[in-house]
């Protein structure tokens, strides 16, 4: 088994909810509530879940774009949460992020050359302007953009091209881990495949490790080695992707899989239609957080929280049913 590049232990991130004239904290959004997982070197771990379940917060907390409420993040064995400002800046070279929104994630007042060159400037990776431009050109070519684009501004590009610029910027520092936060969700259907292919090519070429966040299970299935399913701030299942799609253990995963509309009109799936909506993370349900919607809920569910544990060969899940 390969080494763990990233290890997340009991990570929590609560956002205070403030109210009243004195802006007192009246409650907390438990966006990420005690999750643990590891990503092996060279693999792609997919992280899926519905909107608001805490996927982005997980990604950003790992990178310390948000400060964690509790827990530790080990990158190559070092606890990232304990690094000081300077050490943190240095380690950022090894961990990068690609954002969902190809429009919001590029500074509209910078040229492509400056956007992709910024990481080189920050970490002094180029001796002079000429070398920097050479490097930028090379990186742009790696993501399939020609040098003729260097002096253009982001608004002159299509969504897919902009996403490539975002990828190029992340690649410029030669990172080991890339957290891709829904990198294709905002793209046109026909362009999504271009970016997915690009990410796969780059992974092969540079031996990158991905934490690939998405809400689209079919994309996650295509690109990942293992998949983690999140519900309302908690991990509910984590396993090899083939195993997950063949043998989903958690009732939420089962309904999620059945809910995906498939591009095949002849297939009539047996849908598990969930009742109700995703509850608020401010005041999550007691016991198992899924119990108000779970079609299989039984006595212990509303009172006791199921433990996230292994049920044979790296298949983790959190559900009382599995202990029966």
């Amino acid at each position: 088994m390969a080494e763990n590049l990233l290890e997340v232990n009991n990570l929590k991130k609560y956002f205070p909810v403030k109210a009243g004239i004195f802006k007192r904290t009246v409650a907390h959004v438990k966006a990420v509530d005690d999750i643990s997982f590891a990503v092996e070197e060279g693999e792609t771990l997919g992280l899926v879940g519905e909107s608001g379940c805490g996927k982005s917060t997980t990604g950003r907390t790992i990178l310390r774009l948000l400060e964690a409420t509790a827990g530790e993040v080990l990158f190559e064995g070092k606890n990232v949460m304990e690094l000081d400002k300077k050490e943190m800046r240095a380690i950022r070279r090894d961990m990068q992020i690609i954002f969902q929104d190809p429009y919001a994630s590029l500074n509209p007042r910078m040229t492509v050359a400056d956007i992709v060159g910024e990481p080189l400037d920050i970490h002094n990776l180029a001796k002079n302007k000429k070398e920097r431009n050479e490097k930028v050109k090379e990186i742009l070519e790696n993501v399939g953009l020609g040098a003729e684009y260097m002096n253009r501004y982001p608004h002159e590009f299509s969504g897919g091209q902009r996403q490539r610029i975002g990828v190029a910027r992340a690649l410029a520092v030669d990172p080991k881990l890339i957290i891709a936060d829904e990198p294709v969700s905002a793209l046109d259907v026909s362009v999504q495949a271009q970016v997915v292919n690009l990410l796969q090519d780059l992974q092969k070429e540079y031996g990158l490790t991905y934490l690939f966040i998405a809400h689209d299970l079919s994309v996650v299935k295509h690109i990942s080695d293992r998949v983690a399913v999140m519900y309302l701030g908690k991990l509910v299942e984590l396993t090899d992707k083939k195993e997950l799609f063949r043998n989903p253990m958690h009732p939420y995963t089962q309904s999620l899989l059945s809910a995906i509309p498939e591009a095949d009109p002849k297939k009539k799936k047996d849908r598990i239609i969930l009742e109700g909506d995703v509850p608020s993370p401010v005041d999550p349900p007691s016991g198992c957080r899924f119990h108000p919607r779970c079609p299989k809920a039984f006595e212990p569910c509303p009172v006791k929280e199921p433990e996230f544990k292994e049920y044979g060969d790296g298949h983790f899940a959190a559900c009382h049913l599995l202990d029966q």
């Binding site: 950003r60 800046r89 950022r92 070279r93 992020i97 590029l106 500074n107 910027r169």
Partner: protein, 291 residues
């Protein structure tokens, strides 16, 4: 590239073109002041020459194109050299107060927490005092004179910019491109200058244009209230002040001394209107991009 586009659109808009032309006219007047109204001695160029010692204003005549004001001060001379004063007050006051506003607003929003709390309380305190009264009191304390007027106007003129800047920065700070830069390991200075200020400066610029116009009116008001430039100094406010006792006209005609009010009044109005027109057009041009 962007600037060129903005400029073409400013020129295409009739109102802002009008504004631009008027401002350009004032700029030319200010630049060529020594030729339009040659001073008696270059050192005291801002000293308005007097046609004599008569108290009553005299109408326009040969050698005194706009007539003379109370105390026989040459109105034409005062207007021409006052243009320079107007620009100086506008540029220095708006420039400095905007700079303070930008710094305070940016630091507040970027660092948040206690720093924000501190700066915003100070801003609240300054804002709670009526601007004109505060400026007048401070000028009275510091003493008469244009420099002191400017100090007062800067001291009480930065809060609007600070608030605007703060709200802008709060918004931009959470944009993903800023997050991306943090993730790359960028320093605070880099993020503030390259990413944040570059993206919030336009609304502040628009506000500055608007304030250019109003600043000159405020400075004139201070002069009118007697705390402005020393008597005889070439300043539009001063020119209006000279008219104070003659506004109601004299025997036989209510309009007898019209030139003492109308000329400086028109100049002040045109000057501030032009900046507003440009500011307005600027906002219209940038608005769709701001949203």
């Amino acid at each position: 590239m962007e600037w060129k586009e903005i400029l073409t659109r400013l020129i295409k808009n009739k109102l802002s073109l009008f504004g631009l032309i008027i401002i350009l006219f004032f700029v030319l007047v200010a630049v060529f002041a020594p030729y339009l109204a040659p001073p008696r001695s270059p050192e005291d160029a801002y000293e308005i020459p007097r046609a004599g010692w008569q108290v009553e204003p005299q109408p326009p005549r040969e050698g005194y194109l706009f007539g003379t004001a109370q105390g026989s001060y040459d109105i034409f001379y005062g207007m021409v050299w006052g243009t320079r004063t107007a620009f100086r007050i506008g540029v220095i006051v708006v420039g400095l107060s905007s700079l303070f506003g930008i710094i305070i607003g940016t630091l507040s929003a970027y660092y948040g927490g206690i720093i924000d709390e501190f700066f915003m309380r100070i801003t609240d305190v300054f804002m709670s005092i009526p601007f004109l009264v505060a400026a007048m009191v401070l000028t009275t304390i510091l003493g008469k004179g244009l420099d002191n007027v400017m100090i007062a106007l800067v001291t009480f003129g930065w809060m609007g910019t600070a608030r605007l800047m703060r709200s802008q920065v709060l918004e931009i700070k959470n944009e993903e491109f800023v997050q991306a830069s943090i993730a790359l390991g960028a320093s605070d200075t880099r993020i503030i200058f390259k990413h944040i200020i570059a993206n919030c400066i336009f609304p502040v610029l628009i506000q500055a244009f608007m304030r250019m116009g109003s600043m000159v009116i405020t400075a004139s008001a201070l002069s009118f209230l007697g705390v402005g430039a020393p008597e005889g100094y070439a300043d539009w406010g001063q020119m209006i002040t000279f008219a104070r006792d003659w506004i109601l006209g004299g025997q036989g005609s209510a309009l007898k001394y019209w030139y003492t009010v109308v000329i400086p009044g028109t100049a002040i109005m045109l000057f501030s209107l032009s900046w507003n027109l440009i500011g307005d057009a600027f906002r219209d041009i940038l608005d769709p991009k701001l949203n």
